[in-house]
Subunit: 307 residues, 2 copies
């Protein structure tokens, strides 16, 4: 049951006997495939709320074994990955906590961390020391195990937001696990994480949803959409995100998102005021500032995946 630190050059530096994937969707399935590729885990068991999903994952060789409950899945597992919508984290932890092995490392993949930390502290009690909250910045437009791929985390940033109860060595093991499957690990507090992602991901989604909603609600919306080009395509791409997932994220990170929204509305009001007053030199100067920032931004290596 103990974690084996291997020395074989072909294998991952850290290895697990039994990996339990709870929620075998795009991220859970990709973690399983990546773990298999990197020989991070010898045996992979999967559980999903929908038995069809688990069955598909088994048939496709994503997992080695299906479990019929979260409790059974974590039995004997030394690595447990929660890959469910963030709003389901508390429920899932409640289901599995009595089966959790005392030496198991538990990680998640949620896009918000404050609520996940709260769920872990509420549901796991003293065992919260085993739970290292994680957020791999990886994904795709399409969800589901059928789109899972072993390379999904290659070169992608993975943010770890350790709890005070986590030992340094457990955080090291979590780091090595993500690195073994291609991730690049950053460590910060859950608060820093949520504040940053409200700014660079959650707010843009809210703005893109609102924009497409406003556009399509006009009498001429459909006609306008037919004239839309590449600028529209890229600006609005994230508006195609999954409604339930993004509802969960906006709910979980409500306060940080509303704070970012406040700052954004101030900036937008500044642009609007200058336009209404006809201060076109001021408008140009505001645009130039934004344009210079954007042009100076170094895109991450990831070329075609979504947050």
């Amino acid at each position: 049951m103990d974690t084996v630190i291997g020395i074989d050059g072909d294998d991952a530096a850290v290895q697990f006997e039994r990996l339990a994937i709870l929620g075998v969707g795009l991220l859970g399935g990709s973690f399983a495939l990546a773990a298999r590729r990197a020989r991070l885990a010898r045996h992979i068991v999967g559980y999903s709320k929908s038995p069809t999903t688990t069955r598909t994952a088994l048939e496709r060789g994503v997992i080695d074994e299906e479990a019929d409950s979260a409790l059974r899945a974590v039995h004997g597992a030394d690595l447990v990955l929660l890959a469910v919508p963030v709003a389901s984290t508390a429920d899932l932890l409640k289901q599995l906590r009595h089966g959790l092995e005392p030496h198991a490392l538990v990680m998640d993949v949620g896009s918000t961390k404050g609520n996940v930390v709260a769920a872990a502290q509420a549901q796991l009690g003293a065992r919260q020391s085993q739970f290292v909250p994680c957020h791999p910045i990886a994904g795709k437009e399409k969800s589901g195990v059928l789109h899972a791929e072993a390379g999904l985390f290659d070169g992608k940033r993975v943010v770890l937001t350790p709890l005070p109860a986590n030992s340094d060595s457990l955080v090291d093991i979590a780091t090595e696990a993500w690195e073994a499957i291609g991730g690049v690990v950053s460590i910060m507090s859950p608060q820093e994480h949520d504040a940053a992602f409200a700014a660079v991901s959650h707010l843009p989604h809210l703005l893109a949803f609102s924009y497409v909603y406003a556009l399509s609600s006009q009498p001429q919306g459909s006609a306008f959409l037919q004239l839309a080009g590449p600028g529209f395509r890229d600006f609005s791409r994230i508006a195609g995100g999954d409604a339930q997932m993004w509802r969960d994220i906006l709910q979980a990170n409500r306060d940080d998102v509303l704070h970012q929204l406040h700052l954004y509305k101030q900036a937008l009001a500044g642009f609007e005021a200058q336009m209404r007053q006809g201060n076109w030199a001021a408008v140009e100067s505001l645009i130039r500032r934004a344009s210079q920032v954007r042009q100076g931004w170094d895109a991450p290596s990831a070329a075609d995946d979504d947050v």
Copy 2:
């Protein structure tokens, strides 16, 4: 001087003896290269405010001849293309009007049409009948003749907004000219054009500028930017646009943009109100509506160019 309608299968159906490009930048230079490729014009003369630009275009074979004024450039030309920032249109027309041949077709490439039409009517008088306003929906992140390419208009939509004074046959010739270099022509009124592009292009630019401005104005803005991923990359790409060009466009299409901004702020306020009231089912339903619209949108064939 008359337009030659060719019958040779290798050549364009419509041909011009002498094409004058006024403003040999990305769009003007690309039109010249495309016209040469399609044998749309036998001889191409170029004029730019900066002699260095015209010289570069000549040295690179983009144009055959450089003119030292707009007036000289249009002398003898049966096709004149204005490819300057929209705010410079009136000035340019004033410079060239006394040299314009009576049978020349004049076109532009401006992203706004109401102000271009007003400039043409004010500066050209009765000769406005020769001016067919055009907007090719093509471009690149990078400007300048060095980035010009013959294929820039391939498969791209080109909106023509004819004036009441234009003859049907002149509009047909303009259509054939754009089709000869790969464009797909749509015809609408200047008002329809400006309303539509306020919605699908100008407002998104304003929102992206405001967003990047707000993000970078925060104390932690730089730190946040380092965590930004592919969602941010695509949403904010258009914020990297040229400040002067976008100042001109927002100024030229101010009323339509402010109208779209009003509708957008209403939608955003709707999202915010539901978030503040904790109506998460309502938030999910708003997101779902936007997500369905975006997923149902057919992107144009153009894969990597900007509006």
